[in-house]
């Protein structure tokens, strides 16, 4: 167990290192000049050079990269556009010259939105996706089965921006059934937090639920015929209880793995959903940063997204091992 966690942590560190390197490299291949953008359209060549120097962009690429890594581990001092030093404690993800704040702060400001959105959407995916999949499998071949499977398929075939805007128009603006989607901090008012995010949760969850519903259904159907389910019924257990206790557990492993990937993706930001509902989360921050050539923010958000994917995939493997004692963590 300890060995597993250590090995997984080392693996994660290697993956993240490779991703920072790739993000750095890719970004420098892009033609735009961050110094020019940071300085603004009215700067002359001299001013741009000064800005370039204070941003550290005149250093060789390798040097900038090692500086970045050192900041990540030990913190560092960064020069603002005008040269004033800014203290950036570890883990320092750099300083955004467009937002005029350390990247970590920029992420920290928006992370609660993404966290709330992702957690709610995952809950919807679990209930709607896995739930309907299980229910459809238990009533396989019936009208309920076809209805449930068809319903989740609608989610897979509809685009978030269409469904999001359409539902927002229908449920919020013309009928007033739902409150206007907005983010209210959970700590301040849990009620407002939940009602404000309800529609985004449903939309984001519904659109992603179909894959889970289909997988859950097929896994259940496969596991239903396992010998141990029959044995449970042979003991005198009712079919429904046997399926809930044994079939569901046998079907759970691939679902846990897929859910891990999905969670990793959602915690890295959901740009389209955030845009549709006007929520400022990590997804929006990342896309804005790319558009504005804000290198530190781009690398920071990419790193964050990768971190969550690596984390949740490892967690999913752990869950699979807990579900099934035959699985050995490697």
């Amino acid at each position: 167990m300890t060995g597993y966690v250590l090995r997984r942590a080392l693996q994660a560190a290697a993956v993240l290192l490779a991703i920072t390197a790739a993000a750095f490299g890719l970004f420098y291949a892009a033609p735009a000049d961050p110094a020019l953008i940071a300085c603004g359209p009215k700067c002359d060549t001299g001013q741009v050079e000064a800005v370039r120097h204070s941003m550290g962009l005149d250093q060789p690429l390798a040097g900038q990269y090692t500086d970045y890594l050192r900041g990540l581990v030990a913190g560092r001092v960064i020069g603002d556009v005008d040269g004033t030093p800014i203290d950036c404690p570890a883990p320092c993800l750099g300083y955004s010259y467009t937002l005029h704040q350390p990247v970590l702060d920029a992420i920290g400001d928006r992370f609660p939105v993404t966290l709330s959105l992702a957690a709610g959407a995952l809950a919807v995916i679990l209930v709607l996706g896995v739930g309907t999949g299980f229910a459809a499998a238990l009533r396989r071949g019936t009208r309920t089965d076809r209805l449930l499977s068809g319903f989740t398929l609608i989610g897979a075939s509809v685009q978030i921006y269409f469904l999001g805007y359409a539902l927002q128009y229908l449920l919020v603006y013309s009928t007033g059934l739902f409150p206007v989607p907005q983010y209210a901090p959970f700590g301040a008012d849990p009620g407002a937090w939940a009602t404000g995010l309800l529609l985004p949760w449903l939309v984001l969850g519904f659109v992603n639920a179909a894959v889970f519903a289909r997988l859950a259904r097929s896994q259940m159907l496969e596991t239903m015929h396992e010998g141990y389910v029959r044995t449970a019924r042979g003991k005198g257990m009712s079919a429904l209880r046997a399926h809930l206790k044994y079939t569901a557990r046998g079907a759970a492993a691939p679902l846990a793995q897929l859910l891990g990937l999905e969670a990793g993706a959602l915690f890295g930001g959901a740009f389209i959903t955030e845009t549709v509902f006007g929520l400022g989360g990590i997804g929006k921050l990342a896309v804005d940063a790319v558009v504005q050539n804000d290198l530190p923010t781009v690398v920071g958000t990419v790193l964050l997204a990768a971190f969550f994917v690596v984390l949740f995939v490892a967690l999913a493997d752990l869950v699979v091992a807990l579900l099934d004692p035959r699985v050995r963590l490697a």
Binding site: G3, Y228, A232, R233, G234, K235, S238, L323, P325
Partner: protein, 551 residues
């Protein structure tokens, strides 16, 4: 005499989908089971014997099965009864032991917990504590120490798992136990232990047993009465002793004669169910002892990477084969005998050039072939001379290829024949193994298990090899089909002068077919020699144990 299980005119059919007609799996079966009696339900696959067991438990898939007739457990009717009534019987009055305990036990829960669950379902008032005590004492009764109650099924051996299964079925002291092939997946020694345990428990508790099996030998040793089934109907019924010696129905006689026993004359043709009497070659010709070595391994060692220890720990290797030396002479049939996990299949795979040995020499016709598994050209050259026949005729044929393609593949690889010539050769091969050449264009699923194994043998013969390695080629087959395939192998060996390496755990089959025998255990050869020497005068204690279990 009151019957604890009374089956009358039981008929089970699966209504077909669309154009496919209904399949009748069980057709008008009737029998009584008296208190404490052991009844053998014997038949080959597809005879409906397992379906009878499932229907008695009411465990068939209600949506896809039609059941009529009557099954009464004690006094309670099962057929057509509401699920809640049948559920009260299941696990309490009638319980079942399934064939494959590894599949039938939950992999997610400790064995003690699984027993306790069976107890609690029928003892509504029992506390967790009582249930656990009941589970532990039942486990101890079948020889599993209380300390292992928390272990999971995969941590037990096959025999231990079947003991758990039996303990679980008997925890509520049922009147009837349906045991569906309870020992088929086990090695002979373990099979004997499990059957003895079952008999002991039966005498203690008075539980009547329906033993569903294809193995006439098992029935002969355990059952008072037997019921022979074929195609869903009862062919013959009577006391075991009478049926074993003087069965009236030819099918029963064939079924009994189809299994080579430890007393049958080696090399003789075996009776088959389709009316071929045990005839033809009466006295087995004395097979000439081969002198020239065709294939051999010397001090063979094979290791598999095992589990890793610690963060950067090394993989602890599993030593599957530890210094094995053996040789196959030209024209000779050598048996490699051992229980599962003894390393016999691994040794065979090395000789076939499919696995690279960790150490030792591997030679075919004097040539070093130890690198065949990693050297594609060498592997191809060896493939022409050495061919394999596999255990599972379902898994070893590609379901998406026609028989012509399957059997013709070795010809495409190893010969320069054109398509027409290949077709000619394939047709000839099919004739040779007793299949109709008109079936060239068919797919594997259109054939029965025995026919598929013939296809597998035809494929192995295609490149005209000198050595055929057969890894448990008849273990997955029904007894009558097994007889056909063994007969075929004996004919072909005679006709083509083939050398045969026959890997098997079945001593009776080995005794019938092979010239020399090597006995493997835990990666080493404990004894080897001519057949009669090993069987009549075994030197190693382990060989004696194996022989005792097979008797």
């Amino acid at each position: 005499m009151s019957a604890v299980l009374r089956v009358r005119d039981l008929t089970v059919s699966f209504p077909g989908r669309g154009s496919a007609g209904a399949v009748t799996a069980v057709d008008g079966v009737s029998f009584d089971l008296a208190r404490g009696e052991v009844l053998g339900l014997v038949g080959e696959s597809g005879s409906g014997k397992s379906t009878v067991g499932l229907a008695a438990m009411g465990l068939h898939d209600a949506a896809r099965t039609r059941v009529s007739g009557s099954v009464r457990v004690g006094g309670t009717e099962v057929v057509g009864a509401p699920e809640s009534e049948v559920r009260a019987l299941r696990g309490a009055r009638i319980a079942m032991v399934f064939q494959d305990a590894l599949a039938a036990l939950s992999p997610f829960h400790g064995v003690g917990e699984q027993l306790a669950e069976a107890f609690r379902i029928h003892h509504a008032g029992a506390s967790r504590h009582e249930a656990r005590d009941a589970a532990v004492s039942m486990l101890e009764r079948v020889g599993i120490p209380a300390a292992r109650a928390r272990d999971h099924p995969h941590q037990f051996s096959g025999g231990m798992r079947q003991r758990v299964m039996i303990a679980m079925a008997l925890i509520n002291a049922p009147d009837v136990l349906v045991a569906d092939e309870p020992t088929t997946a086990l090695d002979a020694r373990v099979q004997r232990q499990v059957l003895e345990l079952l008999e002991e428990l039966r005498q203690e508790s008075g539980t009547a047993v329906v033993l569903v099996t294809h193995d006439v030998g098992v029935v002969a040793g355990t059952c008072d009465r037997m019921l022979v089934m074929r195609g869903g109907r009862v062919v013959e019924e009577g006391p075991t002793a009478r049926l074993m010696t003087a069965a009236e129905h030819p099918y029963t006689r064939a079924l009994i004669g189809a299994t080579p026993s430890m007393d049958s004359v080696p090399g003789t043709r075996l009776a088959t169910v389709d009316g071929v009497p045990a005839a033809a070659r009466w006295d087995a010709p004395a097979r000439p002892a081969g002198t020239r070595t065709l294939a051999e391994v010397v001090d063979l060692r094979v290791e598999f990477p095992g589990r890793r220890r610690g963060v950067f720990g090394r993989h602890e290797p599993v030593r599957a084969v530890r210094g094995v030396s053996l040789r196959v002479a030209a024209g000779e049939t050598l048996a490699l005998v051992g229980e599962s996990g003894s390393g016999k299949s691994t040794t065979a795979r090395v000789l076939a050039g499919l696995r690279r040995p960790t150490g030792g020499e591997v030679r075919f016709d004097g040539r070093d072939i130890s690198r065949a598994a990693v050297d594609a050209r060498l592997r191809r050259e060896i493939g022409r001379e050495v061919q394999l026949v596999f255990q599972d005729p379902y898994a070893s044929l590609n379901p998406r290829r026609t028989i012509e393609e399957i059997v013709g593949t070795p010809l495409r690889v190893h010969t320069a024949l054109d398509a027409g010539e290949r077709r000619e050769r394939v047709a000839g091969l099919l004739r040779q193994v007793g299949l109709d050449p008109a079936h060239l264009g068919r797919y594997p699923h259109e054939f029965s298990g025995g026919q598929r194994q013939r296809v597998g043998i035809a494929r192995a013969l295609a490149s005209r090899p000198r050595l055929i390695i057969a890894d448990e080629p008849v273990s997955a087959l029904d007894v009558s089909v097994q007889a056909q395939v063994l007969n075929l192998l004996m004919d072909l060996r005679e006709e083509l002068g083939l050398s045969l390496l026959f890997v098997s755990h079945d001593l009776a089959v080995v005794r019938h077919l092979c010239d020399r025998v090597a006995v493997m255990r835990a990666g080493t050869i404990v004894e080897s020699g001519p057949r009669d020497e090993v069987f009549d005068d075994p030197k190693a204690p382990y060989t004696r144990e194996l022989l005792a279990a097979a008797m």
